[in-house]
């Protein structure tokens, strides 16, 4: 009986010793040293902005064009500004037409658009650029501009204003109106309601080391 009691006592003592040892080990882990550093003043990190706006120069897009005839070119002028803080790229132009007719569906007989830039603002009354002109888009049929945006400029600086002359032409055509009746497929007396859309994307993303 005594032997059994001694055994129980020994086991209990060994258990207490083991638990005590584990506690000592744990205490040793929790007592490790640490250090940290941080900037005393918070670092501002701000994102850039990308913005396009346009303004009519002269009649611009805000005034209807009436009575355009085959061979006519009507020039309208606008100022397109990349007004954000980010540079842009791949500036494109596309158009949409509220209603379809030959003016906007026929690549040969319908309207054609061109875009020319000027380093200084255009003089709309005379159509004169007193700076340097650059052709940004050659004469392009309306159906093409409706189907596919056309690239005007590959890069636009932040804050840059593009002075644009938009040429709207009706190609030469021969039609004969007989006794007041125009021919089938005439370009006469039609109206196209055009919406002009310019689009750009941000400049190529950068990896900045400084």
């Amino acid at each position: 009986m005594k032997t059994q009691t001694d055994s129980i006592l020994k086991v209990s003592i060994v258990g207490f010793v083991l638990v005590g040892s584990i506690s000592l080990i744990s205490s040793a882990v929790f007592s490790a040293l640490s250090a940290s550093a941080f900037n005393a003043s918070a670092q501002p990190i701000s994102s850039g902005t990308l913005s396009l706006t346009y303004a009519d120069v002269g009649a611009g897009f805000g005034t209807a064009i009436t009575g355009i005839a085959p061979g006519d070119t009507v020039n309208r002028f606008i100022a397109l500004t990349n007004g954000g803080t980010l540079a842009g790229k791949d500036l494109t132009l596309r158009i949409s037409a509220a209603a379809s007719n030959i003016l906007t569906t026929d690549a040969a007989k319908g309207l054609q658009m061109s875009v020319t830039g000027c380093t200084v603002p255009w003089t709309p009354a005379t159509g004169v650029c007193s700076g340097t002109t650059v052709a940004l888009l050659g004469s392009t049929p309306a159906p093409t501009l409706i189907a596919t945006p056309q690239t005007l400029v590959s890069a636009v600086s932040a804050g840059e204003t593009l002075n644009l002359r938009i040429g709207i032409s009706l190609p030469d055509a021969t039609e004969t109106t007989t006794n007041g009746v125009p021919p089938v497929g005439t370009v006469q007396g039609l109206t196209a309601n055009i919406t002009w859309t310019f689009n750009e994307v941000q400049r190529t993303a950068l990896i900045v080391n400084s």
């Binding site: 990190i45 990308l50 913005s51 396009l52 706006t53 346009y54 897009f61 805000g62 005034t63 209807a64 064009i65 009436t66 009575g67 355009i68 005839a69 085959p70 061979g71 006519d72 070119t73 009507v74 020039n75 397109l80 990349n82 954000g84 980010l86 842009g88 003016l103 709309p124 009354a125 005379t126 159509g127 709207i168 009706l170 039609e175 004969t176 109106t177 006794n179 007041g180 125009p182 370009v187 006469q188 007396g189 039609l190 109206t191 196209a192 309601n193 055009i194 919406t195 002009w196 859309t197 310019f198 689009n199 750009e200 994307v201 941000q202 993303a205 950068l206 990896i207 900045v208 080391n209």
Partner: protein, 156 residues
Amino acid sequence: MNVAGIVIAGAAMTVVPAQALVSAVITSGEQSITSARWSIVLNGIDGPFSSPPALGNNESRTFTLTNAGTATLASMTLTVSASGDRNIWLCPGNVICNEASSVATASIGETVAVSTTSQVPESPNDVTTWTLRKTSNGGNATFSVNVLVTSNDIAD
């Protein structure tokens, strides 16, 4: 440590390029573009131009050209054909048409064309007058007149 696209490793900081592109769009309001319409109406004043139009003895025929379209016209070509047994003069205006005042003479069986920038009904609703007359009395002449108008200009 990776936090929202910004990697901080030691003292160096690298800004990771955004994956999505920012784009900007500007769209105009609708711009109306209307093409012109060309229409010339010929009216015989003192006689018919319906077939067979003919000039009898001492007859002349005055007709008007009306710009019934919306286009502004720059020039036109008048084509006159004569048949029968007399030649035909074409004169601008409502005049006593003779050799001196004529701008074209169509011989029998001939078609002549004359291009002009005068007596053109330039603006919509403008009306101009022309006269046909046989070159001599007696006999008979039938005629036809065709008008081709042109307009080309560049507007700013």
